[in-house]
Assembly symmetry: C2
Homo-oligomer: 131 residues x 2
């Protein structure tokens, strides 16, 4: 695994895993429930978080606010256990299918996506949905 | 809809939609298939892309590489028709449930996430999966 220079074709169609980190050294990770396919959380990984996720089988993020490596569940016990990691065409985003030990959101919700946007423009409001 | 200053509680639990754009003026948008729940594409939206998505019912992104507003499907005809927009706890990421008119990925794949990461460290390789 290395952030190597690849041709567009190698990057999109090849077997080489060459994750493309952004200027801040991060890529986007979308964690989905391995059973229901529901999106649980969207966060970021740096190289170390990705390595530790793949090596340990537990999702690690890079916390942009705390500027620190973050083993999801480290304090709550609500770990995300990796079932499968998928990468997108240009290798700058991951989808991680995981089994969640407990609620994923720090608010106690199963998923961080517990509100729907209704309307648009100035009249847009949020409505809670069941997760 | 405005990127207003809210208390943490208002931001996380309130009914006010106050999307939090990053330093580059972007938030992350995850588009999932409204029927299968499969993640189709992960991309970015600026304020205008979000407004146009909500107003038109068709997903618009901000292309970081082209630095331009991008109506997904504008050239291919493969529009993403919005069914529901969900926002996360801190309002810096969206999940958009959409009906896809054709394949979403520019490679012709149904989803951009058509490869699985097998292994870790230097031995990690990508294996194609069915989308």
């Amino acid at each position: 695994m290395a952030d190597q220079e690849l041709s567009a074709s190698e990057r999109e169609q090849g077997a080489r895993f060459a994750p493309k980190f952004d200027a801040a050294g991060l890529l986007t990770a979308v964690v989905v429930d391995a059973v229901s396919a529901q999106v649980l959380v969207v966060a970021h990984m740096n190289h170390e978080a990705l390595e530790k996720t793949l090596a340990s089988g537990r999702v690690h993020f890079w916390s942009r606010s705390r500027k620190a490596l973050w083993l999801k569940g480290e304090t709550s016990g609500h770990f995300l256990n990796v079932e499968e990691v998928l990468v997108d065409c240009d290798q700058d985003a991951l989808v991680i299918r995981a089994r969640a030990e407990g609620p994923t959101c720090h608010t106690g919700a199963r998923s961080c996506f517990y509100r729907r946007v209704d309307g648009d423009g100035e009249s847009a409001v949020l409505v809670k949905v069941k997760t």
